[in-house]
């Protein structure tokens, strides 16, 4: 109901030596090879590490699950908010096919769990992982069966409180080491996961599985603009490499505009 679907990313190139990511995410995948084709080889092949499976995939095995995780990140970038957040509930079925030499495309039937309202819905999705260097982000198309719960009132209330409030949000280590989150910080944890989903979506490949590990720091910045503005340091966990990745993320949010990433930049993890 009235949720703004199109999210524009405006990227400012950072100064200094650290690598920055120029991000341009398509809202709907318009890749020229996203055409339904007859599957050439419908036989089942088990994943053997470096040889990725094609055809009908075992939905419990990692190739399907990694592709499905990308759909989770996509849903969060598309529909996520401080009061709406998706988790991957299950993969029901999956197929994969090579698309000439351009990449691999997965077709998935999954269940997505909206965590805050505790509702699960089935989704059908396509994930295309392009090949080649430099690595390009995956392209996702997804449609889910249910309409989204209306969260406008809660979002407006949160927005007003922090737009008009006397103090700007500043918090670190969310959740804390014990997994605890203060109740009035919860919406910003969810907002941070959604904002991080832009990074996770952008960085995902067939050899990654990202989850948000922790918000190291989030600070609300003064701004003349309507949107709330945040500077943040996010910790992401890649299950495949087991690494913790550190990212700086500058983003804005308002109920009307949704989340807009202004700058995202990976920073080196502290050496110890």
């Amino acid at each position: 109901m009235g949720f703004r679907g199109f999210i524009v990313l405006v990227v400012l190139m950072g100064t200094g030596g650290s690598p920055t990511a120029a991000v341009s995410l398509k809202d709907e995948s318009a890749h020229p090879n996203f055409v339904t084709r007859e599957q050439k080889d419908p036989t089942v092949e088990e994943g053997r590490g470096d040889v990725m499976a094609t055809g009908e995939l075992n939905p419990s095995h990692f190739p399907a699950r990694r592709a499905a995780k990308v759909v989770q990140h996509y849903l969060n970038t598309r529909y996520g908010s401080p009061y709406r957040l998706f988790g991957l509930e299950d993969v029901h079925s999956a197929t994969a096919e090579d698309v000439a030499d351009t990449g691999r495309r997965y077709h998935l039937q999954i269940s997505a769990h909206e965590i805050i309202s505790n509702r699960t819905q089935k989704c059908s999705a396509d994930v295309f992982f392009p090949r080649g260097e430099p690595t390009q982000p995956p392209e996702v198309k997804a449609s889910c069966e249910e309409l989204l719960q209306n969260t406008t009132a809660q979002e407006e209330a949160l927005y007003q409180r922090y737009k008009e409030g006397h103090s700007l949000l500043s918090a670190q280590y969310i959740p804390d080491s014990q997994g605890h989150i203060e109740p009035d910080v919860m919406p910003f944890w969810h907002l941070s996961i959604v904002a991080s989903s832009f990074i996770m979506l952008h960085e995902s490949t067939e050899n990654t599985l990202y989850n948000m590990a922790q918000v190291a720091q989030i600070t609300q910045l003064e701004t003349e603009r309507k949107e709330l503005k945040f500077d943040s340091h996010m910790l992401l966990h890649d299950m495949v490499s087991q690494e913790i990745l550190h990212w700086k993320l500058l983003f804005t949010w308002s109920p009307a505009e949704g989340i807009k990433v202004q700058q995202m930049q990976q920073i080196p993890k502290p050496n110890h």
Binding site: E46, G47, R48, G49, D50, N58, S60, H61, F62, G87, L88, D90, I115, Y173, P175, D176, S177, Q178, G179, H180, N211, M212, A213, Q214, L235, H237, M239, V240, S241, Q242, E243, I244, P270, N271, H272
Partner: protein, 309 residues
């Protein structure tokens, strides 16, 4: 200080709190539980295993370790709750009592004490040991890539700065060597279970190859039954399969080593959750996690008891 009996709620404890709790458990159940030092960690901390035994000499035994990856806090928390559960249910639970009348249980709650301390003092996200890597400013080896099972193969890094660094050679890590030495010198372990977090998975070997183990059918069926028992408590859903297919190829893992050493019933748990809290699982989920996991563990233990080999 925690009361040993009837742990009403748990928080994630410090290393020293866990160690002193072990002493109170032993003091409360002296006819069942002993604490054995199996060696020291890299930073010279004692590694203590709790042995649950009603006697005998070198009875067939079950091995359970928790906390090998230090940031996975719900794992040692589950280990602690499980130790309490075994001790307090002995005598009243017929099945557990019959099991302990013929088998021993060894429970290593902190398999990586240095790493665990480091997650409290410096870096909550630390995974590895804290050994110094010569020629590198990065410390630590992934203790679950360091076992002599396909060592140096896929899914393990050669870089000391990596969170999956396999180390200079198999069993280079004293924490791993201590366990290997105990298992080998004991010689009569029938099951080896390693507890990790997160992802909600119950896995059997191998990680170092995606080829099936000879006992795949039996391990898969046992794993599925155990996972169903787990689910029955709160509806928490676990996936079951071999490490290589379910999560990733990963060489040098403990349950691959234990299986290849002849310990047939080798399993690895990845506990709650599936990524929402991830490593930072809140303390209020410790007891639910441990309780549901116990149903799976107990099922496996009973099966091991009933299928001697």
């Amino acid at each position: 200080m925690l009361e040993v009996s009837g742990l009403q709620h748990l928080i994630h404890l410090y290393c020293m709190q866990i160690y002193s709790w072990m002493d109170t458990l032993v003091a409360q159940y002296p006819n069942l539980v002993t604490k054995e030092e199996i060696g020291k960690s890299y930073e010279n901390r004692p590694m203590y295993v709790l042995k649950f035994s009603t006697g005998g000499a070198n009875r067939p035994a079950i091995w359970i370790d928790t906390g090998i990856h230090s940031r996975e806090w719900v794992s040692p928390a589950t280990g602690l709750w499980t130790a309490n559960k075994i001790a307090s249910d002995f005598g009243s639970d017929t099945s557990l009592t019959s099991l302990l009348n013929t088998m021993d249980i060894y429970l290593l709650i902190l398999a990586n004490p240095d790493g665990y301390v480091y997650t409290h003092t410096n870096d909550r996200m630390w995974r590895k040991t804290r050994s110094i890597n010569s020629g590198s400013s990065c410390r630590g080896v992934d203790p679950n890539r360091n076992w002599d099972a396909g060592f140096g193969g896929p899914g393990a890094s050669t870089s000391p700065c990596s969170d999956s660094y396999h180390g200079p050679f198999a069993h280079s890590e004293i924490e791993v060597k201590n366990v290997v030495d105990l298992i080998k010198s004991h010689g009569n372990f029938k099951s080896f279970i390693s507890v990790h977090a997160y992802s909600q998975l119950l896995m059997y070997p191998y990680g170092y190859t995606c080829a099936d183990v000879a006992d795949k059918a039996e391990l898969d069926s046992l794993g599925r039954e155990a996972a169903q028992k787990l689910t029955s408590l709160y509806g928490t859903y676990y996936k079951v399969g071999n490490i290589c297919n379910i999560i990733y190829p990963a060489s040098g893992g403990s349950i691959d080593w234990s299986y290849d050493s002849g310990i047939k019933y080798s399993f690895a748990f990845e506990l709650r959750d599936t990524g929402y809290y991830g490593f930072l699982l809140p303390a209020n989920q410790i007891i639910p996690t441990a309780s549901e996991t116990w149903l799976a563990l107990k099922h496996i233990l009973e099966y091991v008891r009933d299928h001697p080999y």
